[in-house]
Amino acid sequence: MLSRLAACAALLLSTATADAFTAYVTNEKDNTVSVIDGTTMTVTKTIKVGQRPRGITLAKNGEWLLICASDDNTVQVFNARTLEFIKNLPSGPDPELFVLHPTGNPLYIANEDDNIVTVVDIDSGKVLTEISVGVEPEGMGINPAGTVLVNTSETTNMAHFIDTATNQTTDHVLVDARPRYAEFTPDGSQVWVSSEIGGTVSVIDVQTRQPIGKVSFQINGVNADAIQPVGVRITRDGKRAFIALGPANRVAVVDVATLKVERYLLVGQRVWQLAFTPDEKQLFTTNGTSNDVSIIDVEKLRVTKSVKVGRYPWGVVVAPF
């Protein structure tokens, strides 16, 4: 009995450490970031950040928390553990989303108000260059090798391919209306681009720069106009994609090989961005109009919990501690 208890305790302890993580959620209307403890799944802290925080990511092996403070025209850097403010990075006007080079530097920032992508060295805090793209740049994705960057422009309706060696655009692929997000498959062979108004996700072959498929959605009882794909996340094994469908209040689970939707998971309202936990067992969704995040069990494909955060949760990132 005692030994069983001890084993139990040991198991609990080990899972606790293995599963330890912290989720950070930007609240667009509150100018705050909610910090969620992964063990208790509760908001443990809410920190004040710049105005209209949207895109959020980690840098320096998770030590830095980077936040697009869109209305302050800056990217803010916080210590991810202590939550102390470190510095501001130049971002160009109205930074919305960004992506870090796989080597950890530089940072590529979409400037929604200015038709450019700004490239910033996060150590020196210097703008390295600006890349001219279409109207209202938003989605940012980079291949695992760090050689190809894709930016989507919402009003131009294109995925712009950028060569990271030269920082020049090389190809412009038309997709459906209002492309929001670009996500590479883990093998770097495809990039998935969600089109919010078009209601589809285009799959583009990275080698040929040609669209090779499209994911479409149909949900009984939900008007097609309300199905608006935004955030996309693909599992590390490259098998499954999770796609946030905005005001359809669902996350679609898609088989990457066949591009068929396996299931729709009902989450909070206007689901926007997604983030896996480090062990990829759970997925966080930000639900803009219901002011909460939903947590999805990735194996069972079930929504297990919702956690109330601030107003208009927008972006989410999870750190492995």
Binding site: D94, T129, I131, T170, H172, I197, P247
Partner: protein
């Protein structure tokens, strides 16, 4: 395959005669555009040109009651300029260039004669910011020619109904769309008893008729219907606040029990006097108070913030509904040209009329044209002067094909009989 080839051609060559072409055709994105690091190398083949003609009827309108409502000189034009810039930003990646030409005059005859001349010279796409009669004059004068007209402003129902024309698309909402949008919200609010106050102008009567139709359609009742007499030098409309403060309560006295005052005063001659002055404490909606429109200058949803900012930077003021209607017309052309990668009239016009056509307009859903009369389906914003209040269609107003078709005259009711168009009939 063709697309692929074209793109390769574009990319092959970039740097070579960049400057020469830029100087020759005045490519806007190189002139005063970004320098050095993020300058986009242009294609070597000359871009395909898409010319758009904006026609503005500049007849004097009566002065508005409020100094805040004096229309800007470039109303509509500013929307066209922004859309051209947006189109060109996309066009530079597709080797397409959009050019705007403007025709402005107070006399419809002059506009028609000049438009005919321009079409003979090769103009194909005309965006109209003109009076309803002038829309018909232009449509008839250009009938059968390679010219497509966009009515961007005249809300008159007859242009979409008995007087509909095969060569006209409408990007501004019709009066019944506006009235239905407002009515749905009033019914959603359970403000079902309406006190209708109607001005003397034909447009006022038309708006009132649209509200009466909407009441029947959505289950509201007009419990009181009064005509507001406006005459030049009228005792009611003139004078300082002392008189208005006496006259409006008097005019609205002894009305049947009502939930809301609905005012029909498109000319803006008295409606602004109603809020806070009615005999009974009731909200005012219609052409003043809570108003339906295609655009609101403070809309921030659906990415509209960036759009509003872009407009403000380019025009130096906030966006008005007519700017938006014109922007949508020019953007629709840009969208059709981008999707077809074409610059010729027939391909672009066919795309605009095809069931595949859709355009994003910062309203949270795709906008499409009704195939039976060329009217753009679009959500309608209801707002007070400072802020949007809601967006119609309202929840619960359902439709078998598109909820946007709960706004305005629907397919089964239409009086428009256009010759059957190519392609499958839209659902």
């Amino acid at each position: 395959m063709e697309e692929c080839e074209a793109r390769r051609r574009i990319h092959r060559s970039r740097a070579v005669c960049a400057l020469a072409i830029a100087l020759a055709v005045g490519v806007p994105w190189l002139m005063g555009g970004p320098s050095g690091a993020h300058a986009q190398s242009p294609p070597a083949t000359p871009p395909g040109i898409i010319d758009i003609l904006l026609i503005r009827e500049t007849a004097a309108k009566p002065a508005p009651l409020s100094l805040l409502d004096i229309p800007p000189q470039d109303e509509g034009l500013a929307g066209a300029k922004l859309a051209i810039a947006d189109n060109n930003n996309t066009g530079r990646f597709l080797n397409q260039q959009f050019r705007l030409d403007v025709l402005a005059d107070a006399a419809p005859d002059v506009l028609v004669a000049e438009a005919q001349k321009r079409v003979a010279q090769g103009q194909r796409f005309l965006v109209l910011a003109v009076q309803p009669r002038t829309v018909l004059m232009l449509a008839d004068a250009l009938k059968g020619q390679d010219a497509l007209l966009f009515n961007a402003g005249a809300p008159d129902e007859n242009l979409r109904e008995e007087d509909c024309r095969a060569n006209v698309l409408h990007t501004g909402p019709s009066r019944t769309m506006l009235a239905d949008a407002l009515a749905q919200y009033l019914v959603w609010k359970q403000w079902r008893r309406w006190f209708l106050i109607v001005g003397p102008q034909p447009e006022d009567m038309a708006f009132a008729a649209a509200m009466r139709r909407a009441a029947t359609r959505f289950g509201a009742r007009i419990v009181e219907d009064r005509a507001f007499p406006v005459e030049t030098g009228s005792r009611r409309a003139d004078g300082g606040h002392e008189q208005i403060q006496q006259q409006i309560p008097l005019f609205t006295q002894n009305a049947a029990a009502h939930d809301v005052v609905v005012v029909a005063d498109e000319a803006g001659q008295f409606g602004e006097y109603l809020p806070f002055r009615t005999w009974d404490a009731r909200p005012v909606a219609g052409t003043q108070g809570l108003t339906p429109a295609s655009w609101h200058p403070a809309l921030e949803q659906w990415g509209a913030t960036q759009f509003q900012n872009r407009f403000a930077r380019s025009a130096g003021r906030t966006m008005r509904p007519q700017d938006y209607d014109v922007w949508l017309a020019v953007r629709s052309l840009g969208e059709a040209a981008a999707r077809t990668r074409a610059t010729d009239f027939s391909a672009i016009a066919a795309r605009l009329r095809s069931p595949e056509f859709e355009v994003a307009g910062f309203k949270g859903q795709k906008l499409t044209f009704r195939d039976w009369n060329g009217q753009l389906r679009e959500p309608i914003l209801l707002g007070t002067p400072k802020l949007p209040v809601t967006v119609s269609p309202q929840p619960g107003f359902l439709h078998q094909f598109s909820e946007l078709d709960t706004l305005g005259i629907d397919r089964p009711e239409t009086k428009c009989r256009l010759p059957a168009r190519a392609g499958p009939a839209a659902k």
